[in-house]
């Protein structure tokens, strides 16, 4: 007799646990949206002033509102939200046929969890009828979402996702905003070559995690292809605090040092290079230098170069676009920065800029296609070659790496001193984004 109530209790408990663990996803309230007219042509109120046909484009994406990616993802979504609000506030996107497209956001919290991403993107496509997709933040989540986009035939613009591998899986509808990881440090060789053609000996010392190793392997191959001699190529474990053994291994005559990994090790490495009085002409490290906290190193930070997807100091402009033979599209850097600061009361990071740029790319493609149809927008994306406040945008259209970003370049910042002797970040590469001349060679 006792078994029935026990079984019932167990069943109830299981139901409760399952219910708590998997709540039905409720769409997070989208940003303020305008009243949207039906997609069919609105009847003319007066013959003399015909009302344009208003179409609605649903943009679906997930945001990591909780979990470890929360900070970066929130900034990315802030950028995207700003883009959408600006387009809609300007009356929508006007197409060549006279119709107007208004954008509507549908999004869910992916909890920074890859497993949730696939479930939620399927829901965005099937239930929320998203016309276009924007990726979640991070390479891992974007990779998971890309499978779904491709499966259901929806265009996805990825942002906050630098990994190359997603675009080498034969997808045809996934387009990358960021510079791929394989080119994070290649620009440092270009900058070095532009500064001093005589420099040939480069040491690469990097963290041995996957990201840093991939970046440095690609940089090594690129450097060797350009005729540089990689005199030392060695990895250090994540969490390394003592770089003296690596510094002592740098051969005499080395002219440049590249590598690094993340903030903690990169800043320690830079500090110990300074303390040990390593005399090279050029130092470029991953990830750490663009962080504002890097300036706390004081003189050890002076002259250190680091790649970033974007910086507010980047001087991309219509003139730079013209010089590069590209069409300029969207707001200027100053317009974006001031609008972002006005709305969110903070300086935009590259995550924020990437979010805005993803929207801008989609906007340009829809405008060029004059349609919301996937095939036409895809053709416009394939043909796209523009420059925006975020930098140049062009996609690989080969079967091997379709959608891979091939025009956008990392901007390389360098810590320099202003007139008052304070350390400031300056963009020193690429030339079209330069805010100051590079400090070269390092004087130590």
């Amino acid at each position: 007799m006792k078994r029935v109530p026990i079984a019932l209790t167990l069943l109830l408990m299981v139901a409760l646990v399952v219910g708590c663990a998997r709540p039905t996803p409720t769409p997070t309230p989208p940003p303020p949206k305008p009243t949207v007219a039906p997609t069919v042509a609105a009847p003319a109120m007066e013959a003399s002033t015909p009302t344009p046909v208003v179409r609605k484009a649903v943009i679906g994406f997930t945001a990591s509102q909780t979990g470890k990616l929360n900070v970066e993802s929130t900034r990315q979504i802030n950028g995207l939200t700003l883009w959408m609000e600006q387009v809609n506030a300007a009356g929508g996107l006007k197409l060549a046929d006279g119709s107007v497209v208004l954008f509507e956001a549908k999004f869910y919290d992916d909890e920074s969890n890859k497993d949730r991403v696939q479930e939620l993107y399927t829901r965005l496509i099937n239930e929320d009828k998203a016309d276009f997709l924007i990726s979640p933040y991070s390479s891992g989540l974007a990779d998971a979402a890309a499978v779904i986009a491709e499966q259901y035939g929806k265009i996805m613009i990825t942002t906050g996702a630098a990994s190359d591998s997603t675009y080498k899986k034969g997808y045809t509808l996934v387009y990358q905003t960021y510079t791929p990881a394989s080119r994070y440090l290649t620009g440092a060789f270009d900058l070095l070559g532009a500064l001093d053609a005589a420099v040939k000996k480069v040491a690469i010392i990097h963290e041995t995690d996957k990201f840093s190793t991939d970046v440095c392997n690609a940089a090594k191959a690129y450097g060797e292809g350009k005729g540089y001699e990689i005199v030392l190529f060695e990895g250090y474990d994540s969490g390394t605090a003592d770089f003296a053994p690596f510094i002592n291994k740098i051969p005499a005559g080395t002219e440049a040092i590249m590598g690094g990994g993340h903030f903690a090790d990169g800043s320690t490495f830079a500090r110990q290079l300074y303390e040990k009085g390593v005399s090279v002409k050029f130092i470029a490290l991953l990830v750490a230098p663009p962080e504002p906290k890097f300036a706390e190193l004081g003189d050890a930070a002076l002259g250190i170069i680091g790649p970033s997807q974007w910086e507010p100091q980047a001087k991309y402009s219509p003139e730079a676009a013209q010089a590069a033979g590209l069409e300029w599209y969207g707001p200027t850097v100053e317009e974006f920065v001031s609008a972002y600061k006005a709305k969110f009361n903070e300086d935009p990071s590259y995550h924020s800029a990437g979010g805005y740029a993803a929207g801008l790319i989609l906007q340009k493609a829809i405008e060029a296609a004059g349609s919301l149809e996937t095939d036409k927008v895809k053709a416009a994306l394939d043909a796209m070659a523009i420059m925006t406040f975020f930098g140049a945008i062009k996609f690989d259209t080969s079967a091997e790496a379709h959608g891979l970003q091939i025009a956008h370049q990392m901007v390389y910042i360098q810590w320099q001193k202003d007139a008052a002797g304070n350390l400031v970040k300056q963009v020193v590469w690429p030339a079209e984004a330069q805010s100051a001349q590079p400090l070269y060679p390092l004087s130590r």
């Binding site: 060695e234 990895g235 003592d242 003296a244």
Partner: protein, 286 residues
Amino acid sequence: MLAQILASLVDGILLGFVYGLAAMGLSLIWGVMRVINLSHGAIMALGMFGIYLTFTHLGLNPYLALLLLAPASLLFGFLVYGVAVHRIINAPYLSSLLATFAVNMMVIGIGTAVFTTSLYNVDFSLGTVRAGVLALPGTRLAAAAAAVLITAGLYLFLYRTRPGKAIRAVANNRAAAALMGIPPAQTLALSFGIGTLLAALAGGLITTFFPFTILSGSGYQSKSFVICVLGGLGNPLGALLGGLILGAMEGLIPIVLPVSWVPVVEFTLFVLILLIRPSGLLGART
């Protein structure tokens, strides 16, 4: 090549003095009370944060801050001894292992809640001393000098003062020492306090040249075990010698092998010493 060997050797030895100081605390506690102190690394981390807080918030020179850290860590050692070690001092080794491990987990837990596991850095520099091919950061030189001074102080204390002699007597034969009127509980508490003090000071010196997190102590604790076995568990001078050997190895191995091989060689040596000469290079002596 010669320049690289010299630079690596000197760097390693300078670091070895601090390693030795850290291991000395562990060695002393084992030598006197036969307790393997698994909270050693956590106490080093506390020392690191002690210097960080006094430097960042009070603007105190890190070396002067060591003078504050020393009595504070001594008192903390008394507290840990009284709460976690005293009652199980005669129990099997596993009990004291678990008790000190529990202290370790508490310190790490509270430290993580307060400081998170983020990286901290004491932005303090003494410039760089150059001598030929050598470029030696002043902070490393100062840390090595401080380690030598503290070691000398410890030896003077152990061999020239009554409480020091009492510690040596208790280490030698606790029962006989008690019969001679030496209070074992107070002497053991003092030993644990001094061991804690040495760990905290070593942690404090490390902050002047390496960044750290609340979890940083565990790596130095592992090195301390290797050093103690190398020099002779229970022999503080052996610990210093072991520290210098380990530091020199860390400097020299990367010349011929990738740096990631250093721990492999270190722990191979650890096993070999245990097998071939379990008493260590200098043997157990207090």
